[in-house]
Amino acid sequence: MLALVTGGALMAASDGDGLWQDRFPHEKHARLFPLCTACHAGVTDAAQPMWPEPSGCASCHDGVIQPRISWEAPTRPRGSNLRFTHSAHSRAAAARNPADSALIQSCGRCHTERGAQRMAVRHAVIGQCLDCHGLSGPHVEVPSDACATCHVPLTEAPGLTTQEIEQFPRPRSHDAPDFRLGGHGRLARLVNRPPGQRGIAANCATCHARNLCITCHVNAAESPVISALALDDRSPRYATSQPVPASHARREFLRGHGRDAQRGGESCATCHARESCLTCHVGVPPRAVAALSAAGPGRAAGAQLSRTPPPSHTPDFREEHSAEANARPRACETCHTRPMCLECHRPDAGAQSRYHPSAFLARHPSAAYAREANCADCHNAAQFCQSCHQQSGVVATRRIGTARYHDAFRGFSLGHGQAARQSLESCASCHGERDCVVCHSAVGGGFRFNPHGPGFNAARVRSRNPSVCIACHGRAIPDSR
């Protein structure tokens, strides 16, 4: 599941309750300092320091009048993503509404709650900022384009540390059910983007850098929205695995995902690199696959898939796959290259068959006689069976009836008909047709034993190929009607 690690974050210059601690007891000194600028001269004059000198404190905290204290001004500006300086803010406000400039210069307008005492100073009261700028609602829920009023993109706020970024507040939109899958993309896209403006919503850029997106988005480099963000290693990343879209749980997803990919490849490209598809698609990649980005730097690695056989591939599938392969060849081609089929269907002499079990050479008569499978799907009977039987000395061409190979059956030459019709392919693995026509032919000295069995459609065979008839009947083919 996508895990947004932005939760609990605190945006810099927010209400400050959880982050900012007043290092100076302003309220105790309320009567001593009628003007804020007495200590923070830099607020109104950028040439002046923002913080008082510690020696100024020592005029009272000398160990006699008041206990000594140890205080030092911050040595560096506090990390912030505000596009704000006191002087510029004052000038801008005065320019916009001169009548309001004095009020704006009242520090309490921003730094104290309404109705609070003058020196009940807070870091900044965000509600006051929003009020002045005409914004309503919680700070992190203001319209996207309003963020840029006060904030620079995260990548332009180098002073923020990773820890500070991780404490940015989490907008409620991030808790929406569809936020992780699709929802955040819709929010991130700028509709009617003005020329020159970033391609991503300002509120995303305020808290996130591209590093977050490329944790999941394989197509980060091609996405104008994501590309609008700069890279920044301080950006949080997703910590856990990606969610599986609901569409992937559909029963027919496996079969239909190719069609879906062709129609809307963009959504696939979000999580899948080309390598995801090539886990299974081992042939030349379909166009939808080729259109995907290959894994590489600047993008997510993509969903990592493992290739496992589908449920149909039971241990018996080796025997039964022909029906499915014939009816649905494209499904096979998804995961199997043709050389894999050819290993068995066009076996080579140097290979040990992966189809047949061990010692099949010794067992093959029982499997071949009653054709446990169709041998001719893979083996040419002449090249494979006859030539091997010839080497084995069991081929009987032109010596039929003399050698008595079938010696377990007395009188086999007279009673071979049933065996022959039951397994004619076995006969043909040792005997040539000439062996048979010696007795079955009606010409050339044959004994005219009729070989045609029940259901023999002589007329049809003759109409298709009369040469078969001529071989035994000569030109005097009997009337087949």
Partner: protein, 493 residues
């Protein structure tokens, strides 16, 4: 060597276009060799007056071989032949290239060089020495796929090789695919034409010209149903006679959790139903059960006489079950009963032969852990022609993803129905395999096999020998193609 020309041309084309920047390719090379021995029979004869009466009746040679004596001057018999040794070797290459400058265009070729370097040169399938299995140009657009060249057509009407063109057009709205093809055919289950001498070891009659093949196929793919009908004819161009004319229907349907697969073929030229089958499978995550009916009838081309002898079909019922009893134990069993149709033969002179049979087998796989796997099988077959009883087992040790070792063994008993020649075999062997990064695989296999051929006379024989096999597979591919070699060992979910 004619067959090798297209392959060489394909390789040249592939090499020539290798400089194209956008080109991607996949190349797989396999080299394999095995050393095997077998002992056959040798036909022999003696003068009729040298034959002596055999103890059980009939005659035999003085040294105990049963002989057949006719009216002639000689008696005939078979005795065990010498041990023959073959060392077939194969080097095969399969290449696929795409990104050739035309979107959707790819080139695919598979070929091999083969030979028997053993002392007796006996192994089948080693001629011709250069073989082109496939070599074609493939062009794919959204709804159209076209191929030209040597192709192997997967079909219910047996896989068919041909040199020609193939075109498929898809009509998505109607969920229809229509395919048509035509060209010059290769021999049945062969990578050479029927006119090649390699397909005629018995010097039989063969057609002078290659047959012309043409066919069409329509597939309806709707939800979980695939229905496919096809028609194919083969013509002898010399006289325009039919070599074959057949049609077939295949279907796969899924109504979860049931899956149905089936189909049939029809021999139009002979007017007979060919083979057919229907299987229903009930699939569950931990078990599956299937049952089916099957009919098998052999098919012969019309240029042979075999079809005129009216081969009969057999009809069978079968069942298969697989159960994953516990995570580490998988059990399986399969059985089939079959019976031949009436052969239409009746004579009072000879008894009827077997016309029915059955097959059964059971097995178990125990996965002790990621490293150790045990597997065992036992099977029985009884039927016309031959029977068998076998048991085998293996122990696999895979110390890591790349390396595995097997020790295996088994035994077999196989009596024949029509000859006194009962065989028993015992074997034990070991196999090692190393696969590196999905791109390289080496394997070697050595087994000792002991064969016994029992007969009630002196023609019994035995042969104890060592079978050795070894191979290497290499896969190459462009950077965007990370397809590894297929897993050597099938993985289960």
């Amino acid at each position: 060597m004619r067959a090798s020309r297209p392959f060489i041309a394909a390789c040249v084309l592939a090499a020539g276009s290798a400089s194209s920047g956008a080109q991607e390719y996949r190349l797989r090379l396999d080299a394999r060799a095995q050393a095997v021995s077998f002992r056959g029979l040798v036909a022999d004869s003696i003068a009729a007056d040298e034959a002596v009466p055999a103890p059980g009746g009939g005659f035999q040679t003085p040294d105990g071989h049963a002989v057949r004596c006719g009216a002639g001057s000689h008696c005939y018999f078979f005795r065990a032949g010498p041990e023959l040794r073959g060392v077939p070797m194969t080097i095969s290459a399969s290449v696929a290239m795409w990104g050739l400058g035309v979107e959707g265009l790819s080139l695919r070729a598979t070929g091999r060089v083969v030979g028997d370097v053993g002392p007796d040169d006996v192994w089948p399938g080693t001629e011709p020495s250069a073989q082109l299995i496939e070599g074609y140009v493939d062009y794919q657009r959204a709804s159209l796929t076209a191929r030209a060249g040597r192709q192997l057509l997967a079909s219910r009407l047996e896989p068919l090789g041909f040199d020609g063109a193939w075109l498929r057009v898809g009509w998505a709205k109607a969920s229809l695919d229509v395919t048509g093809y035509g060209g010059w055919g290769l021999g049945q289950a062969a990578v050479v034409a029927v006119t090649n001498p390699a397909l005629n070891p018995l010097d039989e009659w063969r057609p002078r010209d290659r047959q012309i093949v043409a066919g069409a196929e329509a597939a309806w793919l709707y939800r979980d149903i695939d229905l496919r009908a096809e028609y194919r004819r083969e013509i002898d161009p010399q006289d325009d006679y039919f070599v074959s004319e057949r049609a077939a229907v295949s279907v796969v349907g899924l109504v979860r959790p049931l899956r149905a697969t089936g189909g049939f073929d029809y021999n139009i030229a002979e007017g007979r139903l060919g083979s057919a089958d229907l299987t229903l499978t009930y699939l569950q995550p931990r078990f599956s059960v299937s049952g089916g009916v099957r009919r098998y009838r052999p098919y012969f081309s019309l240029w042979t006489l075999w079809g005129a002898f009216s081969p009969v079909s057999y009809n069978a019922v079968n069942a298969f079950a697989e159960l994953q009893a516990i995570t580490s134990v998988s059990l399986r069993a399969r059985g089939e009963l079959y019976r031949y149709e009436d052969a239409g033969i009746s004579t009072a002179l000879v008894p009827r032969l077997e016309d029915r049979g059955w097959r059964a087998s059971a097995g178990a796989t125990v996965t002790l852990n990621a490293r150790w796997t045990l597997d065992g099988n036992y099977g029985l077959e009884h039927g016309p022609g031959a029977s068998s009883r076998f048991a085998d087992g293996s122990v696999t040790f895979a110390p890591n993803e790349r390396l595995s070792f097997d020790v295996y063994g088994g035994s077999l008993a196989r009596p024949l129905e029509l000859r006194f020649y009962d065989a028993t075999s015992l074997w034990v062997g070991t196999r090692g395999e190393w696969q590196s990064s999905g791109r390289r695989r080496l394997w070697a296999d050595v087994a000792r096999v002991s064969d016994e051929r029992e007969r009630p006379d002196a023609s019994s024989s035995s042969l104890a020998h060592v079978r050795a096999r070894a191979g290497v597979s290499l896969a190459f591919g462009s950077s965007a193609d990370r397809t590894p070699l297929p897993p050597a060992r099938r993985r289960r979910q």
